[in-house]
Amino acid sequence: MVTEENGGGHGNHRPPSGFIRKYVFSTDHKVIGIQYLSLALFSVFLGMGLSFLMRLHLAWPAAKWPFFRGGLMTPEQYLALMTMHGTIMVFMVLTTAPQSGFGNYFLPIQIGASDMAFPVLNMLSFWTTMVSLLVMLAAFFVPGGAPISGWTAYPPLSALGEISGPGQGTGQTLWIIGLAIFSVASLMGALNFITTLIDLRTKGMTLGHLPMTCWTWFVTAILGLLAFGVLLAACILLLLDRVAGTSFFIPGGIVISGQVIAWHKGGSPLLWQHLFWFFGHPEVYIAILPGMGMVSHLLSTFSRKPVFGYRAMVGATCAIGFLGFCVWGHHMFVSGMSPYSAFAFSMLTMTIGVPSAVKTFNWLGTIWGGKITFNCSMLFALGFVSLFVSGGLSGLFLAQPSLDLYLHDGYFVVAHFHIIMGVAAIFAVFAGLYFWFPKMFGRFLHEGVGKVHFWITFVGVYATFMPMHFLGLAGNPRRYSQMTAGPFLRALQPLHVFITIAAFITIAAQFIFLFNVFWSLFRGKEAKEMNPWHATTLEWTIPSPPPFDNFGGVAPVIYRGPYEFSVPGVADDYILQTLAPDLVRKA
């Protein structure tokens, strides 16, 4: 009997009536997952729009555009776009969509739970994230505009206030507050994810039976739990430096805009960098790990083969998570940090390449000998593997401090993190969306339109980001609003024009995707089968879309691992995790 006392996440099997409780302040993990995905969808188009304006300015700095007063973009407007592009993409898209979005929707279902452990906390963490987005966006509308110090907000530029540049007044303060709120939201989310995975798994769902997706959501949540508290502390210190006159990060003797800053002394700008990157490096794994899990899952499903080396994959995931906390100093090789610690950070960073390489080998091993279906989901998953290789290898350059002396803060770095952290993670999200859309909404995304979207995007991202390596090799520093200062920069202008054109085409293709989503929501082919992909995990044992309490108050029982595809001697080429041994049909 299921009463309110023991009804799992929900008090009962019926969803609350009323629009507000059902769709706005909902405690249903599925609704919250869709809310997170919607927030990410809004944010990704916003962030992309900002990057488009940046690219226009980089290609044709003297051209006049209708969006700006006087037609010309000012350097501070460019830097404000850059700061907000980075912040929105990293926090509101890459942290939100793969983890909070898909994780919220599918983690409870894949482990056989009716909801997250703490549904109200789950709702709170979404709405707190929403508040942080609104606070950050408010920076655009205050006098001085959005901050210009980049998503890393290095002090003293970010700590001195308006005197250090437009946007560094109220705009920067709002940015810091927004980030602090986001940290709190992420902590609540991480706590909920971990508790759910540890204590709410259904019967038989041992660690060895967890899908790779759940493993990566789990490790990502641990990273978030340990990293966001540090970011919160750093934000508080920075805020105090700005508004309360303390000197945590601001050294003495600063003269800026002809004014002597006499009331600050003794602070250390490097202290912020240490705190920020102690959070910041795990953060890039927070962005990419869930993508790795989803891709492992999809490669297996659409090759009709088990994940190659499941235990090695789990081990590599944990190793990346652990090492992710030991390598933050590789962001600081030229910062003035001790050159001896640079050596240690460099070696650890080279080591983190090993589990990443193991992952790649295992992905190739997964599709080797399989029977590959080339639907949109699989195409994006394969694209992810290619991008992961391309973006990962450039990391081997940046991990060596002597090479970083040349490449640091240049376009090579921009190319590296856009490919591996930005585009690869987004490809995983696309792959996941094409895969799970029928489960979430009961209709398929359109495959034909999706393939057009895939091809333009895949070719487009390589055309956009590969040339940025070349800019970096030629010594082009990043965060320049135009390449007009030195002769060597002017010589690189044609490449910037090419990148802008490629970016324009790629961005335009995303509207095909947007159209596909909205068209398919209402007109897409109906997913009549529960399990249209013939997949094995728990979400495919329940209707599409799943009922309010997922399993109708009956806990599923797990008999086997998550990737039993094409098992010899079995009639079907897949075995659901819930299929009892005596029900498996022999060939």
Binding site: T74, S164, G309, P339, P401, Y406
Partner: protein, 276 residues
């Protein structure tokens, strides 16, 4: 249950994806090998060593890049759905151990090998007799201070900083050692002589970057960071700011002129004369 029919168009999609991967790999490798957009020549011994390390890293990552992309292209084409039977296997522990160890040795070895150049730049201080130049960054300009004939830098104070009165670094006129100090907005150094830089900032964090020196160092307020180099090729080189420092970041640049010792002495004399 249902046996899934081979997707129509599976072969053409697989072929297209494979061809694209091969093409992308080929174009990337070609552009890198043809050095269409490439480093400017290095002008220091350490720079040449760093270039050697770059070459080694390009070789190793290049081979992995080509092998991995081609392997992906080959695998996805060969194992496209043609209604064939799947070869069932769940993994191979020997292979896992082998590729873990191989990549570990390769990556860590590469990292160890790279430390030599880093040690030359950072673990050793400048030799005695090196020419000291103090580099002071400000929004959005570089100031270079030479010690003058007495070889001593005079006292500075942030209270005295005033760009409008021609004292951008705040020299203290009461200190006799500062009388002959020369502050200029461009940098000149004699060829084949070691130069010691003392890098500092007056306001926010900047970064001193000269491509041909293969050298980059943040200028952090509150810190005096020492670097050294010996330029071996005369010429004029661009100094750029490589750390976001505010709205004028993109135009914060200067030049480094490497000249013969005789030319340098002449240049220095002119600057001292202008300084009086």
């Amino acid at each position: 249950m249902l046996s899934r029919p081979a997707e129509s168009g599976s072969t053409s999609t697989a072929l297209a994806l494979s061809v694209f991967l091969v093409l992308m790999t080929a174009v990337t490798v070609y552009i890198l090998m043809a050095k269409i957009w490439w480093f400017p020549p290095a002008i220091t011994a350490v720079g040449h060593e760093i270039d050697g390390q770059f070459a080694l890293t390009f070789l190793i990552t290049g081979v992995i890049f080509v092998l991995a992309q081609i392997a992906l292209a080959y695998t996805l084409f060969r194992f496209r759905d043609r209604g064939q039977k799947v070869t069932y296997f769940e993994g191979n522990n020997t292979m896992e151990v082998v590729w873990t160890l191989v990549t570990l040795v390769l990556f860590v070895g590469l990292g160890l090998y790279a430390q030599n150049a880093w040690a030359q730049v950072h673990f050793m201080g400048a030799a005695p007799g090196a020419l000291p130049i103090e580099v002071t960054a400000e929004q959005f300009a570089w100031n270079f201070r030479y010690a003058g004939p007495d070889g001593k830098f005079g006292r500075e104070s942030s209270d005295l900083v005033s760009a409008s009165t021609g004292n951008p670094v705040g020299l203290d006129p009461n200190d006799p050692a500062s009388k002959d100090d020369v502050v200029v907005p461009v940098m000149a150094v004699p060829v084949n002589r070691q130069v010691e830089l003392i890098i500092r900032s007056e306001d926010v964090t900047h970064s001193f970057f000269v491509r041909e020196l293969r050298l980059k160092q943040d200028a952090v307020p509150g810190m005096d960071i020492h670097m050294h180099f010996t330029a071996t090729v005369p010429g004029v080189y661009e100094i750029a700011c490589a750390e976001l420092c505010g709205l004028g970041h993109y135009r914060m640049h200067s030049t480094l002129t490497v000249m013969s010792q005789a030319d340098f002495n002449e240049w220095m004399k002119q600057q001292e004369a202008a300084n009086q």
